[in-house]
Amino acid sequence: MSVYKPLTGAQATAEAMRQINPDVVAAYPITPQTPIVEFFAEFVANGLVDTEMIPVESEHSALSCVVGAAAAGARAMCATSSQGLALMWEIVAATPGLRLPIVMPVVNRALSTPINIHCDHSDTMGTLTIGWVQIYSENAQEAYENVFLALKIAEHPDVLLPVMVMQDGFITGHGVENVKVLDDAVVKEFVGQRNPDRYLLDLEHPYTIGPLALPDFYYEVKRQQEEAIERAKEVYLRAGEELAKITGNTYPYFEEYKSDDAEAVIVILNSAAGTAKDAIDELRAEGRKVGLIKPKLFRPFPYKEYREVLKDKKVIGVLDRSISFGSYAPVYAEIRNALFELDHRPAMQSYIYGLGGRDIFKSEIKNVFEELLSGNVDSEKQKYIGLRG
């Protein structure tokens, strides 16, 4: 039976990890991810999991260790944030090519410099091109459930790719919410056992992992990797349907909030989507036709599906919590890309907000809608919410 527990996003993630009971977890402290592995260490100490927990000397080692364990056939996990993700980048980039189904919760935090421990999405947006499946979570409940979803996708034989599950640092990670926690036995059945088709240390079927592939084969290996992440799009929906049966929630590519008949729609990731929903409720009460699209699956990116729901909108505002220096902001660029095939495209405006943890307020989101509805938009000019003059 499911029970409601007051949990932080980090605790909810640790709870999901406890229920998965991975064989190996490797960790190195990095704010604001640290509580995930601390709560998990408590589970290890209390004998609630059978996990081999290894506190290593750096994040580079943490993911390396998990890669080794996963290659040997284990279910292995780690978690990180910002500078930790940056330090492990070499292995982050290598993992998809190794086709290892590793699930890594990432608690979003601004990248240095300046040094900042608070939330923005510059850390994970920096890893978009290297082949991890990426799922973003609005709150602790989603952060909890998305870990199970991620595991199903990662280990699916059509996919076999690593998956990152994101939540906002401090806002979600350290904020306490009521989280509906599934029954241990139900999760156990849902996640099952990892059954790798091949693994190291199998003396009957020895194989090599990660060898050299020069101009003769590298290209083909990468194309196979690309086909796998393309398949992950469909697997995401199927795994979501399966998960829906035990959670009662749904797992579309993106959440549509009052966007059906909306003239102005904003697109926004993670926790700020919650603030946006409040702003939309108030504007709706005044009779304004406004709505929200909240991306969940960000890699692979479902371009066609976005085009379908956005094609008849009058105007779209995309709010990014990171800058893509020298180009359009990451979420904006994808939405803009998705609409290319349309004959009559909606008007668009790109906004940056919340860098380094700066708060975004309901009033600011309402102002965004006012601006969008007024027609004062320029698809080529980025605007800034809450930036000092």
Partner: protein
Amino acid sequence: MSITTEKKIQWCPGCGNFGIYNAFKSVLEKNIDEGRLKKENIVILSGIGCYGYITNYYDINSFHATHGRIPPLATGIKLANPSLSVIAFVGDGDAYAEGMSHTIHAARRNTDIKLIVHDNGVYGLTTGQFTPTSPRGFKGRSTPFGNVENPINPITLMLVARATFVARGFCGDIKHLEYILERAIFHKGFSFVDILQPCVTFNDTYSFYRSRVYKLEDTDYRTDQYEKAILKSLEFDDRIPIGIFYEKEEESFEEAIRGTHNYFYERQVPDISEIVREMI
């Protein structure tokens, strides 16, 4: 001359960082006043940890860098302008975990940089996990039943890595620490000072250290005997020696690769006007 800033110090009351902060401040102010150091020629660096704020509290050129990467950064600064005094504050996480290999290579190169380690045996900023210098059995937030790894011995490690100045200080003995820091700063070549420091919140070792430390300077120990220094460094139980273990003058890295030249001051802009004229 005061080298403090108006920035409010954010460490916990009783933090070991205060001892290091005050000792370093006294040494610098004294030597700047007496003309042995030029304030504008000093660069201080810090990495990540509570101690990392230290660069905010001194009115000195500074660079607050990423976790673990201080030695290569300091090496770069020193190579670019060898007339600078490059003094780096690092933590036990920086020096012995994420940046362990950097520490060893900086020592063996004998770059003329000073590494001052805030060694409190715990990750205080992330609230209490064990580090490479936490004793075996250390109970922290990530190891409630005690860690099962052996700690490293930084002094032995640095001796074996051929550091030319190796010392251990204790933040609870500020006068003695001042003596070590002054010697470290004026040593030509790589100076390494590991400072035993409690974290009053997560690893309070004040009384543990205070009851065990004794000064090498109070004994007949000599600092010029390499093998004996290694043997001495192994002593870390009921009695813990603090002081200078070893010092030796050798050619520094920057001297080895560029002699006495300082290209920062000597660089000459080549006259390319003739070439430009031809091209036009």
